[in-house]
């Protein structure tokens, strides 16, 4: 402000006027974002109202925290929160470190062509759609015709009906996630490792370091900033476990462990038309996610110097 006044108020306008073309370039995206992203953020006030479509978002009656209280008091509250947390923490603990290991491993491969084949084939499952992935999981695990029980049968291992076993749900979710995305998620780390100065390795070799020591002393420190950034982002979606895959893998037998916040919200909102109740659950979920993101970001900022913002 001070600066703008000192250089004359017109110069800011002058700069805006000179770059009018840049603002024009942003118009379509701004319009789309206001209509379809920011208006729903305003629409979230229906969580505090008794939404009636005829009365509109603004015209509906305010009811304060009624729907939040209803959710907190319902038996589905602890149920959905626990299921969501179990699945998301399990996912975080397993799928966060594995891509790092994979990248470190990939970095040790010197056979160029082999490395290429390895990378292309581990990235490939990433491009399978969620629907096909879930179809594959259900077919492969089927106790009567699935290929996994067959192969394990050869080794003499008996496997029950995993899809019908509620306790197996989180493991099925997490390990199929690993199969599908571990390769792809390692790309960022591989990129970070490719920028290591080769002189560092040479210096370490002169000092008599073996491969293992080089990984510990050079590679891992190199990956820390990327790790921290990705970790903060992952924490920010702790309660945001992907709806798509959980919903498709749900069945009557595993529902006790597979009903998470987002699937419950979808059923309440769009299947039984309890708009306000469902919006309240969604808002609660988003606020918690947002708060965790800010917290982890602040903690990381004060401990090290990596942060998102």
């Amino acid at each position: 402000m001070q600066h703008a006044r000192m250089t004359g108020g017109s110069s800011v306008w002058e700069r805006i006027r000179r770059n009018w073309g840049l603002y024009l370039l942003m118009v379509p995206a701004i319009a789309i974002f206001i209509c379809f992203t920011y208006m729903p953020m305003y629409g979230v006030i229906i969580a505090f109202k008794d939404f009636r479509p005829a009365q509109g978002i603004w015209g509906s009656r305010w009811v304060g925290l009624k729907y939040f209280e209803r959710y907190f008091d319902s038996y589905m509250f602890t149920n959905t929160i626990i299921n969501t947390l179990v699945i998301s923490l399990y996912t975080l603990v397993v799928t966060f470190p594995l891509p790092i290991l994979l990248a470190l491993m990939c970095n040790q491969m010197y056979a160029k062509r082999f490395k290429k084949v390895f990378q292309v084939s581990t990235y490939l499952p990433h491009f399978i759609s969620t629907v096909v992935m879930c179809g594959m999981i259900i077919m492969f695990l089927s106790p009567s015709s699935g290929v996994i029980p067959r192969i394990l049968g050869i080794a003499g291992i008996k496997m029950g009906d995993l899809m019908g076993n509620a306790n197996a749900f989180s493991s099925i979710y997490v390990w199929s996630e690993v199969w599908q995305h571990v390769g792809w998620d390692s790309i960022m780390y591989i990129a970070a490792l490719s920028s290591v100065d080769p002189q560092l390795y040479e210096a370490a070799e002169v000092d008599g370091a073996n491969k293992w020591q080089k990984i510990l002393a050079i590679d891992i420190p190199m990956l820390v900033p990327t790790m921290v950034t990705l970790f903060i982002l992952r924490c920010g979606s702790l309660l945001g476990v992907g709806f798509e895959k959980v919903y498709l893998l749900q069945n009557d037998l595993n529902i006790a462990k597979s009903e998470i916040i987002s699937t419950y919200l979808y059923k309440m909102g769009l299947k039984s038309n309890q708009y306000s109740y469902s919006a309240a659950i969604g808002l609660f979920n988003n606020v918690v996610n947002f708060v965790i993101l800010i917290l982890v970001n602040q903690i990381s900022k004060s401990i090290g110097d990596t942060s998102l913002f």
């Binding site: 770059n19 073309g21 840049l22 024009l24 370039l25 942003m26 379509p28 995206a29 701004i30 789309i32 974002f33 209509c35 379809f36 992203t37 208006m39 729903p40 953020m41 305003y42 229906i46 479509p53 978002i57 491993m105 040790q108 491969m109 056979a111 082999f114 390895f118 084939s121 581990t122 990235y123 490939l124 491009f127 399978i128 759609s129 629907v131 096909v132 179809g135 077919m139 009567s144 015709s145 290929v147 067959r150 049968g153 199969w179 790309i187 960022m188 990129a191 073996n210 990327t226 920010g236 498709l248 987002s262 919200l265 909102g269 769009l270 708009y275 469902s278 919006a279 808002l283 998102l308």
Partner: protein, 308 residues
């Protein structure tokens, strides 16, 4: 023997110098890598061989390494299923139009935000990044699209409302910041070139790499998504491929309808065969295209990694 012959070759010398621990280390790494490659590829390979085998052989567990009782019956049946092909066509349309819209809205914003002389740059950046971390949620979005814009069950809802992607903007902005030298714009200005002409005649031709990355991401995203269609479409003839696939794979639509009169086990086997074929047909475009364009995907992730 060849090691001795080529003893003076630097790679060989290096090899000899390797300690025993390092050699064991290499062995472990390559063994794990081979196992992982097989583990990644086998499920996909199994789907393909199961789709061209006799369903009874598959059900008995005889098809594990190669196809048995070759037959194309599953594919023949698939070709007679109208809804799958309608879905295919719909998905091609949604993907083409949707990808085009995504390029048209995201790339210009990314360029504008990459310019340091843009007044209000911080504010606009915040406007475009904030939705990455907070949103109205499913229900408010549905109400706005349904009650305010009346877009439910239209073609438009599949391509327009969710076309601005913060992540694409961040990645392309980083690309523009790092790959376009500032002197270029200075020179263009001296020649009397305006922002718009500069963007279309200089920036875009220099940015084919990022255009390819975003286009591929967008196309794969459209091809593979079912969520928006499930929420916002009502008429089955407008369903994209993935929603049709959901009905086949998850809801077992065929097993109930297509083959009446056979024994239950028989129905189940044939239904599985058709599922294998449907998976192959629906994934084929992306899987065959991927190895040829994979460098663009990697490039994109790496540009994004420069400044998350």
């Amino acid at each position: 023997m060849s090691q001795i012959a080529g003893k003076n070759h630097p790679a060989v010398r290096n090899h000899i110098r390797k300690s025993r621990a390092d050699k064991t280390f290499d062995w472990i790494i390559y063994t794990i890598a081979v196992l992982m490659t097989l583990l990644a590829l086998y499920p996909m390979y199994f789907i393909v061989i199961a789709s061209i085998s006799d369903p009874n052989q598959v059900a008995q567990g005889n098809v594990l390494l190669w196809p048995k009782g070759l037959s194309l019956d599953g594919y023949k049946h698939l070709f007679s299923m109208g809804n799958l092909w309608t879905g295919y066509l719909n998905t091609v349309l949604y993907s083409l139009v949707g990808t085009l819209i995504m390029l048209v809205v995201n790339i210009p914003v990314a360029y504008a935000l990459s310019r340091r002389d843009l007044v209000g740059r911080g504010l606009f950046t915040f406007f475009f990044i904030f939705p990455m971390f907070f949103g109205g949620g499913l229900i408010p979005t549905f109400i706005i699209l349904n009650n305010t814009f009346h877009m439910v069950d239209t073609f438009l809802v599949m391509v327009l409302p969710f076309s601005v992607i913060s992540y694409y903007i961040v990645v392309s902005r980083t690309f523009f910041q790092t790959s376009l030298p500032a002197e270029l714009w200075d020179a263009a200005q001296i020649d009397g070139c305006g922002n718009l002409r500069y963007f279309f005649t200089v920036v875009l031709p220099l940015s084919k790499a990022i255009l390819a990355v975003i286009a591929l991401w967008a196309a794969v995203g459209h091809w593979n998504s079912y969520f928006n269609a499930m929420i916002y479409l009502r008429t089955p003839s407008k369903y994209p491929l993935q929603l049709v696939m959901r009905n086949i794979l998850i809801n077992n639509e065929m097993a109930a309808s297509a083959m009446t009169g056979s024994a239950a086990a028989d129905i189940n086997r044939k239904a599985n065969l058709i599922k294998y074929c449907a998976i192959v047909v629906s994934s084929l475009p992306i899987m065959t295209m991927y190895p040829f364009v994979q460098k663009y995907f990697n490039q994109g992730v790496m540009i994004g990694a420069l400044k998350g």
